[in-house]
Symmetry: C2
Subunit: 702 residues, 2 copies
C-alpha cells in the first residue's frame, strides 16, 4: 500500500461513527478516552466493542465491529499489542476502512515490538485498512467535530484555525492546552505515534488543503517521508499558509534522547535548518514560541516590505524590545525621513524619532499623540507592519482604562485603515471572555509578551522574506554527466559550469615544463599528475614558487623522480604547471548529500578559520545568488570579506555567482555524487578562483 493521498486523508479525518475496540468500564484509559469525545465535541455516534460484548460507558457492547448495526467510519483500537493485528483484521473484514491504533508496545520498545509492528502493518495492508499508529493517541478534526483521540485537552475546546500535528501524544496535548490558555482556537489536532503507514508528511499534505486550517504547528523528532513533506511545505509557502515547527535534535544529547525514544533517525540538524529555510518553514524552540508564532503569522499574513516598526509609551519597553530584536535577528530599521519629520510635529521636543518609537508619557496626557502618530508610521514606505507595544492585559479593568490610551491607539489604526496589531508586555492567560472583550473594541491581533512578540515578529520577517523571494532556483535538468575524478578533471568540470579555476598546463617533459612556466610567467607551482597518487605532497610531487623556466625544467625531473621513488607502480601522466598564488582569503565550498533532504551546500571560511571556528553556513541545493550572498553575510567571520589584511573587499556578487556555479556543477553529477569540495576557493577582491577540487561518489551502481 502506498502512503495515502491528501484526499484519502480527507475521508479518514471525517469519521461520524466510531467503534472503540477495547472499551471497558473497568479501564481508566477507556473511561478517559470516552470522555474526550465530549471534550472535543464529537457529533457522530460511538460504539463499544470488547471480547465479552459487555456494555461500556453507558453504551451497548458488541463482541466485534461486524456486529454493530451501523456503518462504522473508523475503529479506535486499544487492545494489547499482541491482539492488535487480529483486531485490524476483524475491522477490515467488517468493511471498516479506517483505524487508529492507540495500543503501545511496538517499535518504540525494541526488537519484539518491531516484529509486532511489522505484523500489524501487514495485517492492515492485507485488510485494506488505512491505519494511524500504532502508539498514536489519534486525532480530533475540531472544525468538523469528528473525533477519534484521547489527546488531553481543556474543555470546551476553542475552535479556530490552528492545526497541531505531533509525533508525541503528550506534547500534542500540551500544545493544545497552551493554545487554550492563550485563547487560540484549533481546527485540528493529531498525534502520529509510530507512523507505520503514514505520518507527519502525509498529515501536513492534507492540512495544506484543509480550508478550516490557516496555520500548521508541527512537533517532530524525525520525518519519514521527506519528499512528501517538502512538496507539501512548498505548496503551503505558495499559498501563504504558515508552517511552524518544533523539532528536537539540535543538541547531541537531545539526538541521543530521541534515538532512545523513537528509534528513528535524527538527521543532521543543520541540514534540517537549511531545509526549513528553503521552504519557508518557521523553526522554533519551545511550545509557547511555536503556538504563538503560528497563530500570529496566520492572523497577520506575510508583510511587504518585510520590515516592522514599533511604538510604545514606555521607554523601558522600547529598550527591552530593541535588545530582544538584536538577540533574535529582528531588523529595527530607522524610519524614513518624511516619517521622522511628521513625528517631530506630533511628539514633544525631547522625544526621539527612533524605531522603536517612545511616544513618551505625553501620550498619557494627550492620547491624540497615538491617533496622530500611528497613521504616520503606517505610511512609512519602508515598513510592512506597525506594532504597538502597550499593556493590553487581559484584565477588563485595564482594557477600559483611559490611562492606557488604548482607544487612541485603536483610533490611530482606524485612521490608517489597518487592523490594530498590539503587543502586550508580559504573558498572561486570555480567557474566552477576555478575548470577547477585546474583540468588542476591535482588537483581534495581540502578541502576548515582549519576548515572544519579538520572536514571532522575527519569524514574520523571515517568513515574509521567504515568500517574497519566490521559488528557489530550479535544478538543472538532463542526465548526470561523466564522473570527473582527480584534481584537474574536477576543476575542469567546475570551469565548464562557470566557476573560475586556476589555469593549468600539463607538461610531459622538462621542455614542456619550461615552456609552461614561460607562458604563465612569474612564479609557478608544479604538481605531479597521476591517478594513482592521492597525497601528492607526501610523495614529493608538489613544488611551490618555481621562479624561472630553467628552474621549472629542473624541478620537472625532480618531481617525477620523487613520485617514481615514492610509488614505483603509479601511472604518471605528466606534471601540472599552474601559477603560484600569494596567500589570501580562502573559503571552503562543499556539497554533500543528506540521506533525507538531498544535496546541500556548505560555505565556510578556510584555512585556520576552518580549523579554529568551524564557521560555516548550510543551504539546500539548488541555490540562487541571493541565497549564496546571504550565506556569506551570515558567516560569523563575515567581516573578513569586506577587506582583510590589506586585501580589497571581496566582490560578493561574483563570489555568490561562483558558489551557485559550484552547486550546479555538483548537481550535474547526479545522485551518485557523495561529495564535491573546492578547497581552497581563493578570494582576492574580484579575483576568485578554485585552487583545488575533489569529488567522491557513492558505491551504489549508477
Amino acid at each position: 500500500m502506498t502512503a495515502p493521498s491528501s484526499g484519502d486523508l480527507a475521508g479518514f479525518f471525517r469519521p461520524r461513527n466510531v467503534a472503540l475496540v477495547g472499551a471497558s468500564d473497568k479501564s481508566g484509559w477507556s473511561r478517559m478516552i470516552f470522555s474526550r469525545f465530549a471534550d472535543y465535541g464529537h457529533e457522530g455516534e460511538i460504539f463499544a466493542v470488547n471480547r465479552s460484548g459487555a456494555p461500556a460507558h453507558g453504551l451497548p457492547g458488541y463482541t466485534s465491529v461486524a456486529e454493530i448495526p451501523a456503518k462504522i467510519d473508523i475503529a479506535y483500537i486499544y487492545v494489547p499489542a499482541q491482539a492488535a493485528a487480529e483486531a485490524i483484521r476483524q475491522v477490515g473484514a467488517a468493511g471498516v476502512r479506517h483505524a487508529v491504533v492507540l495500543s503501545s508496545g511496538f517499535a518504540e520498545t525494541g526488537t519484539e515490538g518491531v516484529r509486532l509492528q511489522a505484523e500489524l502493518l501487514a495485517a492492515a495492508e492485507a485488510a485494506g485498512v488505512l491505519m494511524l499508529g500504532p502508539n498514536s493517541l489519534g486525532f480530533a478534526n475540531i472544525a468538523d467535530r469528528c473525533v477519534c483521540t484521547c489527546i488531553p485537552t481543556r474543555a470546551p475546546v476553542a475552535r479556530g484555525r490552528l492545526a497541531i500535528v505531533s509525533q508525541s501524544g503528550a506534547l500534542a496535548g500540551e500544545f493544545g492546552k497552551f493554545a487554550h490558555g492563550q485563547g487560540i482556537g484549533l481546527s485540528f489536532v493529531c498525534a502520529t505515534g509510530n507512523e507505520a503507514q503514514f505520518g507527519i508528511a502525509e498529515v501536513l499534505d492534507y492540512l495544506v488543503d484543509d480550508p478550516s486550517t490557516g496555520a500548521i504547528a508541527i512537533y517532530v523528532e524525525s520525518i519519514q517521508n521527506p519528499g512528501r513533506f517538502t512538496a507539501a511545505a512548498d505548496r503551503a509557502r505558495r499559498v501563504g499558509k504558515p508552517i511552524v515547527i518544533l523539532k528536537v535534535g539540535r543538541s547531541a544529547v537531545s539526538g541521543a534522547v530521541a534515538l532512545a525514544h523513537t528509534g528513528a533517525l535524527v538527521g543532521d540538524d543543520r541540514i534540517f535548518d537549511a531545509m526549513c529555510r528553503r521552504y519557508g518553514i518557521v523553526r522554533t524552540n519551545s511550545i509557547a514560541e511555536m503556538v504563538l508564532t503560528a497563530n500570529f503569522l496566520e492572523k497577520v499574513g506575510p508583510i511587504d516590505p518585510p520590515r516592522i516598526g514599533v511604538a510604545s509609551l514606555s521607554g523601558g519597553a522600547c529598550g527591552i524590545y530593541a535588545d530582544l530584536a538584536e538577540m533574535h535577528g529582528l531588523a529595527v530599521p530607522p524610519f524614513a525621513e518624511a516619517t521622522k519629520a511628521a513625528l517631530r510635529g506630533i511628539l514633544p521636543d525631547f522625544a526621539s524619532t527612533l524605531n522603536p518609537l517612545d511616544v513618551t508619557a505625553q501620550a498619557v496626557q494627550d492620547p491624540t499623540v497615538w491617533s496622530d502618530a500611528i497613521p504616520v508610521l503606517v505610511r512609512d514606505p519602508g515598513l510592512g507592519l506597525i506594532v504597538t507595544a502597550t499593556p493590553v492585559s487581559n484584565n477588563a479593568v485595564d482594557l477600559a482604562s483611559p490611562m492606557s490610551g488604548l482607544h487612541a491607539v485603536l483610533e490611530g489604526y482606524r485612521k490608517a485603515g489597518k487592523p490594530p496589531v498590539l503587543c502586550n508586555y508580559s504573558i498572561q492567560d486570555c480567557s474566552q471572555a477576555q478575548s470577547d472583550a477585546r474583540k468588542a473594541i476591535g482588537i483581534e491581533i495581540v502578541l502576548p509578551d515582549l519576548e515572544f512578540g519579538v520572536r514571532a515578529l522575527a519569524h514574520l520577517q523571515r517568513w515574509s522574506e521567504s515568500i517574497l523571494r519566490g521559488d528557489p532556483a530550479s535544478a538543472p535538468g538532463g542526465l548526470a554527466e561523466a564522473r570527473p575524478t582527480g584534481e584537474r578533471q574536477v576543476l575542469e568540470h567546475l570551469a565548464a559550469h562557470g566557476a573560475p579555476v586556476i589555469p593549468a598546463l600539463i607538461a610531459h617533459s622538462a621542455e614542456e615544463a619550461a615552456a609552461a612556466a614561460e607562458a604563465i610567467g612569474a612564479g609557478v607551482v608544479l604538481k605531479i599528475l597521476s591517478p594513482d597518487i592521492a597525497h601528492k605532497t607526501e610523495a614529493g610531487g608538489v613544488r611551490l614558487d618555481v621562479r624561472s623556466a630553467a628552474e621549472a625544467a629542473r624541478v620537472y625531473g625532480e618531481v617525477v623522480a620523487a613520485a617514481r621513488a615514492h610509488s614505483p607502480s603509479a601511472r604518471i601522466d605528466g606534471v601540472i604547471v599552474s601559477p603560484m598564488r600569494a596567500p589570501g582569503l580562502e573559503l571552503i565550498v562543499g556539497v554533500t548529500r543528506d540521506p533525507l533532504w538531498g544535496p546541500a551546500i556548505v560555505v565556510g571560511l578556510g584555512g585556520i578559520f576552518a580549523e579554529a571556528l568551524r564557521d560555516s553556513q548550510v543551504r539546500l541545493l539548488p541555490l540562487g545568488p541571493a541565497e549564496a550572498r546571504e550565506m556569506l553575510l551570515e558567516l560569523r567571520g563575515a567581516r573578513v570579506l569586506s577587506g582583510f589584511r590589506g586585501a580589497p573587499p571581496a566582490d560578493l556578487d561574483e563570489l555568490a555567482r561562483v558558489i551557485c556555479a559550484i552547486g550546479e556543477a555538483a548537481l550535474a553529477l547526479g545522485p551518485e555524487l557523495a561529495a564535491l569540495e573546492v578547497n581552497p576557493l581563493r578570494v582576492n577582491g574580484r579575483e576568485i578562483e578554485c585552487l583545488d577540487g575533489l569529488a567522491v561518489y557513492s558505491n551504489s551502481t549508477a
Copy 2:
C-alpha cells in the same frame, strides 16, 4: 546631603500616615492614586492636601501639610513640576522628613527640566527632606502594608518574598502583574524614577537587609551609584539572597532609546555583564525570565554541586529540554555509573539512562517507576538538584489525575527527603486557588514552562557556582608603582608581576649587538630603543630573523641609521635584541578602566582572529585563575587552545596564571592607568610569553 543609608530607608519605606499633595476629585490620576492604597492594602491613614483645601476622595481637605492634625510620615507630591520645589519646602517646614515626588517634567524632558530638577533637589536638601523621585510612581512596602505609590497592580496583591525595583514605573507595574498571574507573591515594589537623591543602588542596599525580602528583581537603564550597588550585591551574594536584573542597553539601538528616555549614561554592556558575573548577579532578558528566575532561586537556594538532573515521562519533553539546555548553557551531566545501574533495575529494558531521563510511558502503567527512580537520582553525587518535568498544570483536574503519576512523583521526593521541584511543559497562569491546591498536595516549587524552566535552571547553575566560588581575588594593596612607559619598561613591569616576557638585551654598539645575538643564539630580532619613536617599523627600526652575530653587528648600524634618518631629533638609547619567535598562537590581553565599574580585563584571540572575529571575553579586575581559565574556555575559538596547526595544547593553568599576573600588573599602576595591553601574548604549549606591551595613562593629575 549624602545618599541615605539602609537604616534611613528602613524608616522611609514604613510610612503609616500619608499626605497626598495635589489630591483632587477632578483628576483621574488622583482618583487612581487614591485607589492604589486599598489595592496594596495600606494600613495607615491618608490625608488630602490641595491649594483650596477642598475635600477629595471622601477625605477632608487641607491647604497644606502643616495643617494636618496628625503626624505625617511621608508626603506624596503630584503638583505640577513648577510647583514641586515649593511643595517640598512646605512639607519640610511642616516637619515631614520623607517625600515621593510623582510629578514629571524634570530631567527626562530636556534642559529646562534639568534646571527644575536641580532646584527641586536643592529644596529637598535645604528642607532636610529625603526624597524619592521626581518622576517616580513611588513604592509599596507590601510586607508591612505601608503604601505610597500609583504603580499599577492586580488586586488583591499577593504577599510573598519577591521585591521589585524598577527605574521605569510602567514596567514596575508589569513585573507585578506578571508575578500575580504566576501566583508569585511580593514583599516590596518601587519605581525610582529620576533618582535625584537616591535610586536603585540605595534601594538594593536596603532590600539586602530587609528580612521580608528573599529575592530582588531589578529593572535598570543605568546605575548612578556603582560602588553602593556592588557593595550591596556582594552582601547579597554572601547571604545567598538572589539579585536578578533586567538591564536594557545590550544593543546599540536600545542604548540610543535609553539615552533618549532618561538622559542617563548607558555603560558599556559587556563590562556590565562582567560586573554581574563578579557579584553573582543574574542577568535576564525579559520580564517573565526575570520574575520567574528570581522566585525560583529564592525558593530553591544555591545548590551544591551546581549540576541538575531531570526526569520526564515524555521523551519529547526530554528532547526539548536537552536542546534548550544547550542553547542556554545549562549543563546536562551524565548520571553516575551507580545511578545508571540502579535505573536499569527500575526502568524497562528499552529505556535509556541518559540525563534528561525518559522514564517512558511505563511510568503511566506503573507509577512506582517514579517513586523508585527519583530517590536514585537524588542520591547521585554529581547532582545538586533533581527536577521532574511533568504536566503540573494549573487545572485541578490534572492535578488529581492518576494518569500524570504526580502522586508517585511526590512519593519519590518524600522517600528521598527532598521537596519536590517540578517543571510544567508550558506557561499558564496560576491563581491563588490553584496555588493552594498545589500546596495541599505538597507542591511548592514549580517552574511553569520548559523554556523558562531551562533558563531559570541555567541561572541557578551559574548563581550557585558564583556562591561556591566564594570571594573574588582581592586587589593588591599598596601605592601605585612608578609609571612604566615604552615597550621595555612595560614588559619589565609585567615580568616583575610574574608574567613571562620575551628576553631582551640592550645593545649600545654593533659589538654589543653581536654579543647579544651570540648569547641568545638562533635567530634574533633587533628593534630600535627610543622614547621618541612610537612606530618603530615605519621608522625602519625593526629587523626580523637576524641569523648570526656578524649580521647582528651589521644590522645594528642599519637600524640606528634608519631611525636617525627617519627621526633626526629622536633620542636613541640603543637597540633591543630579542629572540626571534616562530609564528604561533597569539592572544591579546588588555586592561581598561570603565568609568562606572572600574578596571576590567579583556582576553581575545590575536592576529587575524582579532581582526575577523573580535572574539573576546571581559571580566572585572581583580581576577582569580579559575575565572581566567573560564574566560579562555568561553572564547568562541577556544578550540585553538587545545592544539593548533601542529602546536601542542596550551597549558591552560599557566596561561590563566599569566592573565592574572597581567591583571595584577595593571592594578599595581593605580587608578591613573587608562589602558594596559599585551599584544601579542604568544602561546606555544607551555611556552607563554608577552612579546610586546603598551601602557596609557589618563591625563588627570595623580
